[in-house]
Amino acid sequence: MRGILLCGALAVLGSFSMALARVEDSPAPILDALTKSATWTSPEFLAAWSTPPAGQTRVCRRYRGAPTIFGVQPQAIQGWFENGRLTSITIVFLDAGEWFGYVPDAEARTVAQTKGPVFVALYKQVSADVTSGLERLAGNKGRDVTLGLGLLKRTARVFHHGDLASRLTLEQDQLVKVSIFPSEEIASQLLSPERRALKKDQVARAFAGESHTLPDGDRLIETVPVIPQGDRAYCGVSTLAMVMRYLGVGLDTEDYAGAAGIHFGSTVQSKIKETYDAAGATAEVHLPKTTKFDFAKAKMSLDGGLPVIVFRRWSQERDYLHSTFASNFATNPALELPKPDLNDQKLWPTKEGFAHASVVNGYNERRREVIFTESWGEQVRNRRMRIEELEGTSYLAYYPHF
């Protein structure tokens, strides 16, 4: 056994110099972080990540550098931190949503026809470069693992390099992504080690402990990570990624987008509901839905420490009111949202408005408010809306429970 390990280690060491010398012009510490776990705790490396939001224990931070890895400049590098400790790194080399940007339904066909072939060629090149780069780094071709359920079921390839491991995700003509983990065992699973260590009743208790009642009457889950969707039509999958990360599922927004069939930047004919069902199964959580936000059901989930996802009608103008109110409320808690009377209801977004998804992570029953968070960044955490307005503007809601 030791001999095998030693041979493997020598092979890996031999391949490091080749792989790194070939591609990396920049001496970015991220390159060391592909093979050396010690880098993950070095002050220099940790300083290269975006500033973490105050008071959050589980956060997604962006790497500030723009290195070239395997001859490709990644679109994004994100790190997942638990209580300040880096637990995994996600390198998105190519994502169709990022490359195409937001494509309105009416333009989807034209964009696919004109820009699609360029992207397909790029995907072919990037997927080949990254695959061969990882193979050089590991000194072998890795091994295939099957992950996820339903629409999320995928074969990914796991590599071992240095004292770290990676998982390569290739979604045809959609996504090239590498996630780095502390061990091959973690790379081969979707549920986090912490989540897998708990039995079913322990899991429910652990999450129930995440829901707190504050002195002002807010019942709040404060530890849902925010994953910015960027300028992509990804609100439905980013909110899913936020809740699933909270539940310990190690998939990213791009994985859910690929599973849902958000193709070339367009959500036309995407399978969001089926992707949600698959995510629920993968997270080993029940995920019932209603076609209108039901506060009683939401309250049960939230009291159990489980955030609710709501799809709703959205307008720029109403969003302004919610944003402005949240900003002012932070300094003046005596402020009140408009009463949800007939006059106010006329101002709510209608079916002609945009569709949008938000995470409901709390409520204040006395004030008749839900507390919700967007997949736009920390600045839109814990916004407020009247329960009646969310009931009146929603068209789909998911209520996780164990």
Binding site: P228, D231, Y234, Q316, E317, Y320, T324, E352, E374
Partner: protein, 161 residues
């Protein structure tokens, strides 16, 4: 500067039935160039007293300056933003919103109520009746007067309190 509500003049460019909205969309040139929303800028007379040093891009027509940038004001796409100046000093701003239905036809339906709700949210002031009609809101060092203009218009005027 990117914010979720960093714009809205180009809403019509996007399908109304899109399943998801991007994090930012459209353009709000004033916000991009000034780094602050128009209403925040206009609520601070110290920032706009000198008409030669106004944030954004303005075109002079006598004593009237017209904002050349697109701007969302109180979360609503403004159709026209002008400033009145005297002796090189801005006296007031006038923002005009013109109501349109989904087909682009002029309509006042709910426009005044929509703008009013957002002005209330912005100022935290319920507003009082203005002498010449409309509603006046106090915020920091300015008053904001909202009234229905001619035709299908709503006008917001910023003046020193």
């Amino acid at each position: 500067m990117k914010t979720p509500f960093a714009c809205c003049v180009a809403l019509r460019l996007f399908s109304l039935f899109a399943l998801g909205i991007p994090q930012t969309f459209g353009t709000n040139q004033f916000l991009t160039s000034a780094g602050v929303s128009f209403e925040q800028f206009a609520a601070d007379p110290a920032a706009w007293a000198d008409s030669t040093a106004l944030k954004g891009h303005w075109e002079a027509h006598g004593d009237t300056l017209t904002l050349a940038d697109s701007a969302a004001v109180f979360g609503v796409a403004a159709d026209e933003v002008t400033a009145k100046q005297r002796d090189g000093q801005v006296q007031s701003f006038r923002v005009v919103f013109r109501g349109k239905d989904k087909h682009g036809n002029a309509t006042l339906a709910n426009l005044l109520a929509r703008v009013t709700a957002n002005v209330r949210a912005f100022t935290g002031d319920a507003g009082t009746s203005a002498p010449g009609g409309g509603t006046v809101f106090k915020y920091k060092a300015v008053t904001i007067t909202l009234r229905s203009g001619s035709g299908q218009e709503v006008v917001a005027e910023f003046a020193r309190a």
